[in-house]
Amino acid sequence: MDVKLLELNFAQLSRAWNKSKFNNYSDNRKQAYRDRLASLFNKLQAEDFSNLSPTQVKDRSYIIDFFFTSLQFLDSSTLNLIPFEIVECLGESLKEWIDPHQDFIIVTSLVNEPLGFSFNPNLAFNNFLYTNIKTVYNEEFPQRLIQITLPRFLVRDYLANVVLYHELGHFIDVKYNIASAIHNYLCNHYFNNALNPQDKADVQKYFPYIENYRTYFLQKQLPPTIFYHLREYFSDIFASQYIGECSNYYLDYITKKQAQHGEEHPSTINRVDIVNKFLKSDTSSYTLNLILSATQQITNRDLSIRYSRITNNEFYNLLPCVISNEQQLHSLFILGWETWLDDWNKISAINNMQFQIDANQVYNIINNLIEKSINSFIVTKSWEKANAIAEESN
């Protein structure tokens, strides 16, 4: 790689850093991360790139990529921009799937794409990045950024944001390489005729094109479609642990109940079907059982129902719900969707309203009440934690 291009890249970074280095963050850990970036920047700046070998130039370009990605998300996570409530819910789910000693900071980036939901695992789970930075500049980043991207105008839409649980599923999949491992195992067994007819039929149901791929398998040129579809099935099941079938409602609508599969996505019918089987604890599917058992072996964690229902739906009384624990926190989204899909006249009737409530009003009420419920949970938890610390010190 040309040294001049590295210098161009660093000049671009310098300009970006000049704008970002004075950002204020809501927590000290982000501030500390920013300070480490400052130190890394000084080391990049002090180096004479002209004497570097092509491999060393490449190493530096990876570091600049890392720096840019960090800035992209830190810039959107300043005091007044971070959507605390959804981050809190996702953070609770995340805790169940990572080791307690791992120190992650969830940061967000708001984008203009209407369906621009995603998690970027690159800074969280790519240890080679940190080995590179440590080896080249002797800098360490004990905290890792988990980057969530969400559409700017849906940031407080808690009905649409159930999609983020699916994205968290992709994130966990990437951390553990679950779909990759299942893919290799499944293809080996299927194409080597190691499955009984019933299991084979089940695989053909979820991957209806698989038989056409036999020649590609023998030539070791298997296209990625099965792998991509496994990623989606895994992430759908992962999400449903926390939000039941809510993700299906949204998916069903935006894909128009798509019966055909695409290269990257299975048919909506199959996606909804596998989630429903999981939620009903239907053990008849070989594919579903393989996903469950592989996930357990790889992560030492079970895919299981991880929400508990809130018994009193206060939303009809226009009140936030009292949340007792993290499992109930996730079920707020289920409650929100159930209220949205229910007869809105109930809200008018229960509250003696003299008018028909319309969609925009219900939309705002539900989102407002979910947000207030989450907020109240956060405040109560922080209060209890502070009390416990105070009692210990007494």
Binding site: Q56, Y62, G116, N120, N126, E167, Y185
Partner: protein, 131 residues
């Protein structure tokens, strides 16, 4: 009273009056997008192997660890479900390209010939292997 409260909530708290039908594109191609990091990992690891061949010994532990995992996978001492998760795509790529080589390789005695062989596999590979 209630109407006022609701109006207040709506005025204070709604960011946008959103018509979902208006913002949904005809296809779901943007939804459920997930960034992949396999290319990034393979690119960085390739760079480490090149650096090691160029004489920078500080990359030896990280490169040898990956070779050791590929060796364990080739011998069947480890499976797809319990090899190191961070280096998974590289380990699988190496082992699948030459299982016989990785059955016999000893990472403790790896020399430039071994690293060159690893580098050849990494640089010959045009895209990530899906089997």
């Amino acid at each position: 009273m209630l109407i006022k409260i609701i109006k207040l909530w709506i005025n204070n708290l709604s960011l946008f009056s959103l018509d979902l039908k208006g913002i949904i594109p005809p296809k779901s191609t943007a939804m459920y997008y997930s960034h992949t990091i396999e290319d990034n990992k393979i690119g960085l690891f390739t760079s480490f192997v090149k650096s090691l061949i160029e004489g920078r010994q500080e990359y030896k532990p990280v490169v040898n660890n990956v070779i050791e995992e590929a060796h364990a996978l080739a011998l069947g001492n480890k499976t797809l479900f319990n090899i190191d998760r961070d280096s998974y795509p590289i380990v699988v790529l190496l082992e699948e390209n030459d299982p016989d080589f990785f059955k016999t390789v000893d990472s403790n005695k790896a020399d430039e010939g071994v690293y060159q062989k690893v580098l050849n596999i990494l640089t010959e590979q045009k895209s990530i292997s899906y089997y």
